[in-house]
């Protein structure tokens, strides 16, 4: 059982060694010649404008929250799709196929109820005007 964790251990070891090695090598071979341009936070040449900690319009948060809702829907639908054959079968699958006469609408209804609940939320959001930018 312990051996199954070996790849994870190898990966962790590789990542740590790699990170330490990169920092160490660049530190050892470094020849510092600072110029004013190099000292700026971003070397792309864009002058920095103001502070990053600004107030954002609440609309951005609204969009983010709405995105999460539909994101979660997808997260839920993918495993449902992967198990749809089993969910729409009254008994166990035989060689990946449902025996004849055992098909049920259970899986379909489950998802329809879920989507209906989500739809209620969507209609609410729409009617409330949260999707209107101005």
């Amino acid at each position: 059982m312990e051996r199954t964790y070996l790849p994870i251990l190898l990966l962790v070891g590789f990542v740590v060694t790699n990170a330490v090695a990169i920092i160490l090598i660049s530190h050892l071979t470094l020849r510092p010649r600072p110029t004013a341009e190099k000292q700026t936070p971003y070397e792309s040449g864009m002058p920095v404008l103001g502070d990053a900690r600004e107030r954002f319009s609440v609309k951005f948060y609204m969009v983010a929250v709405l995105f999460i809702i539909f994101d979660i829907e997808t997260v839920f639908m993918i495993p449902w799709g992967a198990h749809f054959r089993q969910l729409s079968c009254g008994t166990d699958l035989v060689a990946g196929v449902c025996p004849t006469g055992q098909l049920s609408l259970f899986g379909l209804w489950e998802m329809l109820v879920f989507i209906a609940i989500l739809l209620v939320g969507f209609i609410y959001v729409w009617k409330k005007g949260a999707l209107q930018w101005d």
Binding site: F106, W109, I117, V120, I123, Y124, K127, K128
Partner: protein, 511 residues
């Protein structure tokens, strides 16, 4: 006697009918609420419709309580404990909705969604009462909490309201995480989330001293401790109760506590029944700390809402005594206590709804001399205070509630002398603030510069009359109430088919 085979979707739906009715109705009302333009009249309409929906759900719950079926082993229970908790939750919801209609009018809140959020929170609570699986408990808690986070922040323009809502949200999320971690560890130790299966595996595999299980139980205790606001996990309660709108505070103090205690008791009595030697001391210590701290700090409060917040913490301590008894008698004593506590709390908050002006807190100063200006209001408040105190006769059902908790503690397998003594002594301490309110109302003169108390709005009057009448009348006939409540014990253990089940279903069961 119907038999619900929970492995069949249709039977599962039937066993959950009241919960689904409330959830479905709430969603229809949500659409109705948003279909029209916001207005005070529309808010009242939705509030009234919500009350009717609760009454319909109450009917369904009562039907199922009196025509109880058997359910197979599964994530849902259909015992009288569940339905009696549902009754208390729904009565509380009706009272909160009724107060909410008037409070929205008074505060100028025109959003009708406030009522719908309450309905959704209540459906989560009903799910908590029904849950026989830690995942369903978690689902119920989340459904309840997320709705109440929004309700707590209803006073958007009030700084105290925003502070309370943020505190509630952060600590609520934190406690939920702890609870979930506890669930994960219990699952890791036993390999199941079903309450009865946890019990079976703990006994069969002798997991009693498994560190994974013990840490999981401790985390669950902390998580539930936050939800019922027991000391030392009570810090959020006074600020949150103070900042939230009055009906929401009453709802949080009474109804949320009811649901949290229902889930707490079922998890503890069913899943960790064999572990009582392990958890008993921890729950007893929590109970003692909660009773002592809640009642003594309550003495210092002059803001009535904060005083009631500490009183609600103290009552969590009294209820923990019933849990610590670890017996069926404790379970029914807890139900009885929750009923009395819900009635008195909603009554007291109805008085606060009448007295509050804008965002300013209601202090004992506002109450002084109330008897000379509004005698009936003062009398009603006195009844609620005496009921919370557990005073005989005038406190009605409150006295018997304390009495049955005390009886359960003393008649437990191991009599809980320390808990019983603390309960009695801290009740005496609590008289310091409950009777102070009465003293101020009846014996102080009305300050000359005080504004006239606004007339009582209709729904608030309804809540006050109904709760005061229920407290006093049930106090005259406690035996009849107890006869019902005693049956409200959680049915533990495996499902035993009472009659022969059909062969197909039998096959499905064994499968």
């Amino acid at each position: 006697m119907p038999i619900f085979d929970l492995s069949h979707p249709a039977d599962l739906t039937a066993a959950l009918f009241p919960d689904l009715l409330l959830m479905g109705g709430a969603m229809v009302l949500l659409l109705w609420a948003v279909w029209r333009r916001e207005s005070a009249a529309h808010q009242r309409t939705i509030g009234l419709a919500s009350i009717w929906l609760c009454v319909a759900t109450l009917g369904a719950v009562l039907y199922m309580l009196f025509h109880q079926g058997h359910v197979t082993d599964g994530p849902i229970a259909a015992d009288s404990f569940r339905f009696m908790v549902d009754v208390i939750v729904l009565l509380g919801t009706i009272a909160a909705l009724a107060l909410g209609i008037d409070d929205n009018d008074r505060m100028g809140t025109t959003t009708a969604e406030t009522h719908v959020l309450m309905l959704l929170a209540s459906s989560g609570m009903m799910l908590m009462a029904a849950a026989r699986d830690l995942m369903i408990v978690f689902l119920g808690i989340e459904l309840m909490s997320v709705s109440i986070y929004a309700l707590a922040g209803l006073n958007r323009r009030s700084v105290r309201g925003a502070e309370g809502a943020l505190k509630y949200f952060l600590l609520g999320a934190f406690s939920t995480a702890i609870l979930l971690y506890g669930i994960a560890l219990v699952y890791g130790a036993t390999g199941t989330t079903g309450l009865y299966e946890i019990h079976q595996r703990v006994v069969e595999l002798q997991l009693g001293s498994s560190p994974l299980l013990l840490i999981g139980m401790a985390l669950l205790l902390v998580g539930f401790g936050f939800k019922v606001s027991s000391v030392p996990f009570h810090m959020w309660a006074p600020d949150v109760y103070d900042g939230s709108p009055n009906p929401v505070t009453a709802y949080m103090a009474a109804t949320v506590k009811t649901a949290a205690f229902a889930a707490f008791l079922r998890v503890w009595l069913e899943a960790f029944n064999a572990e009582i030697g392990t958890w008993h001391r921890a729950v007893a210590m929590l109970a003692i700390a909660t009773m002592v701290v809640g009642n003594t700090i309550g003495l210092l409060q002059r803001n009535v809402k904060r005083m009631l917040a500490y009183s609600s913490i103290a009552h969590a301590g009294f209820l923990l005594v019933a849990v610590a008894a670890g017996s069926m008698q404790g379970a029914s004593a807890m139900l009885f206590y929750l009923l009395a506590y819900t009635l008195a709390t909603f009554g007291a908050f109805a008085v606060i709804v009448v007295l509050s002006r804008g965002d300013a807190p209601v202090t004992t100063e506002d109450l002084s001399g109330l008897w000379t200006e509004r005698p009936w209001l003062a009398v009603a408040m006195a009844v609620y205070m005496l009921a919370l105190l557990g005073f005989p006769v005038f406190g009605g059902i409150g006295f018997f509630a304390k009495w049955y908790v005390l009886k359960a503690a003393l008649q437990a397998e191991e009599p809980q002398i320390a808990l019983a003594v603390t309960l009695v002594l801290t009740t005496v301490v609590s008289a310091g603030y409950y009777l102070y309110v009465i003293m101020v109302m009846f014996m102080r003169p009305r300050p000359a510069n005080s504004e006239a108390v606004t007339p009582t709005p209709g729904w608030t009057r309804f809540v006050m009359v109904a709760t005061a009448a229920a407290i006093l009348i049930l106090g005259i006939f406690p035996d009849q109430t107890v006869r019902y409540v005693v049956r409200g014990t959680p049915r533990l253990g495996a499902y035993v088919p009472p009659v022969k089940t059909a062969p197909a279903r039998q096959a499905a069961l064994t499968h």
